[in-house]
Amino acid sequence: MRALVNQRFITLAVLAVVIAILPLIFPSSYYFRVASLVWVSALAAIGLNILMGQAGQVSLGHAAFFGIGAYAVAIGPTHLGIPPWVAILIGALLSAVLAYLVGRPILRLKGHYLAIATLGLGVLVALVITTESRWTGGPDGMPVERLSLFGWRVSGSYTWYWVTGGLLLIGTWIALNLDETPTGRAFRALHDSEVAAQVVGLDVARFKLQAFVIAAVYASVAGSALAFMNGFINPDQAGFLHSVELVTIVVIGGLGSVVGSIVGAAVLVTLPQALTVFQEYEHLLLGLIIIVAMIFMRNGIVPSLSALVFRRARS
């Protein structure tokens, strides 16, 4: 027990130190931007990992919630005069409500049926965003007003590095908290055996729904952060390929591993940046890397590596 508490503390401390010292080796503001992108993607992935890794439910449409968070902070201040920071909360609330309403019928489905239903949800949200151009600017996207908190204008890649890093720390802390609680155990239990979870008294539907709502709120907050950071947003952020990217981050990093989601995000966000050197070969290489990573590290990078280290240490 004590060991587990310490592990949680150590993980958070290491993450905080990494966030704190990275700027010392960053040569330009470009690096701050890329790192902020990693933190934002990691935040969304950690939430999705609670749903996929802990509770064992797939979502192939999770970018929908990312998009809702992003467009909430774009539309709220621009069209409705809502203060930007309130718009973040409204986006999170909208995502939670949508997840709650749709989750009830959807989460009864299993396996591939759940996959297509969540995929459908994602495509529908993306279509609405693309089509309702009066509000969203359509396929071209729309600008986002700067975030200001109590008179402090949050802008610049250096500032956003710290804001997104802080958000990631909070998100990591909450996800780690959840693990050793009745709710966290319920998630993992229903993942392993739904029928056994039911007969010990777990309301399986309720817990799946909780995991779905938590994951939706994480994605929404991440979406809001990205929209503010970029000062611009387009429907791709809510699209199928972004959903796939989030799922890939979770799986490549390691299902059920909070650290894995951060590592997965680091890999999947920085790779395309590095690959832009190869320009037109970018997609080809990205596809290749996904395939190779999944074949040789099918349990994800972090669990595969820790198993390897563990084996080395023992032998």
């Binding site: 609680t181 979870a197 007969v199 010990v200 059920g256």
Partner: protein, 260 residues
């Protein structure tokens, strides 16, 4: 005063009547065994009683309330617990965590305190773990408390399921072949365990193939054959019933046994 009463239960799968007109009841502290050849419908009956399958006919009463068709988790909340013939343990969780999940109904699991890990959550977690460790000690698994359940041997998993079922402090416990795959010593241990549980006032319904165990600990026995009730009575009555012998040994065997 029966705590669990099943009346005229029936279910069919694709026209085959897997269970057909079975009734039974147990009182607190009583051990009722359900026996019968393979395919007699014992596990199916368990699945109906625990709410996993919906019966096509019949009714179930738990503590004098009609609970027919209630979802498994609602039955659990009313004091019904069970184990599975084909293990259904939480493989990726430790033995201790498995039992802690069993304590679920005794825990407060609001979401917000869990997300922020309030002191109350930490305290409750500690209490649950202590209770789970006690139960693991009770079934002789204390040494493997922090081992992933997926890597435990078969017999240990069987006992782990019993511990998990007991963690909910049930009034009725359904045990599906708890001694299957266990050696003589382990079977002996399970025998003691079941007796102890019953002595605490828990009604136990047992499906088991080990006849020695069944004859030794049962208060009553219900015999099923091809989904239908064949005989019911005390171990002695059932043992001497020629129909039971015939079902188990065939006509020829029954005659042999009668002569012996």
């Amino acid at each position: 005063m029966s705590i669990l009463k099943a009346t005229d239960i029936g279910i069919s799968f694709g026209g085959v009547k897997a269970v057909d007109g079975v009734s039974f009841s147990v009182t607190p502290g009583q051990i009722l065994s359900i026996i019968g050849p393979n395919g007699a419908g014992k596990t199916t009956l368990f699945n109906i009683v625990s709410g996993v399958y919906a019966a096509s006919r019949g009714s179930i009463q738990l503590a004098n309330e009609d609970v027919t068709g209630l979802a498994p988790h609602k039955l659990a909340a009313r004091g019904l617990s069970r184990t599975f013939q084909n293990l259904q343990i939480f493989q990726r969780m430790t033995a201790c965590e498995n039992v802690m999940v069993g304590r679920h109904l005794r825990e407060n699991c609001s979401l917000l305190p869990a997300l922020f890990r309030t002191p109350a959550v930490t305290r409750q977690n500690r209490e649950t773990r202590t209770a789970a460790l006690d139960l693991l000690a009770y079934v002789g698994l204390k040494d493997v408390a922090d081992v992933p359940a997926g890597s435990l041997p078969y017999g240990a998993c069987k006992r782990l399921e019993v511990a998990r079922a007991l963690a909910a402090e049930p009034r009725v416990l359904l045990l599906d072949e708890p001694a299957a795959g266990c050696n003589a010593v382990e079977t002996e241990e399970i025998d003691h365990l079941i007796r102890q549980v019953a002595d605490r006032g828990v009604a136990v319904v047992l499906v088991e193939h080990d006849m020695k165990l069944v004859m030794k600990i049962s208060d009553r026995i219900l015999v099923l054959e091809r989904g239908r009730p064949l005989a019911e009575g005390t171990p002695r009555e059932v043992r001497d019933d020629p129909r039971v012998l015939e079902a188990y040994l065939g006509q020829h065997g029954a005659r042999e046994a009668a002569r012996a």
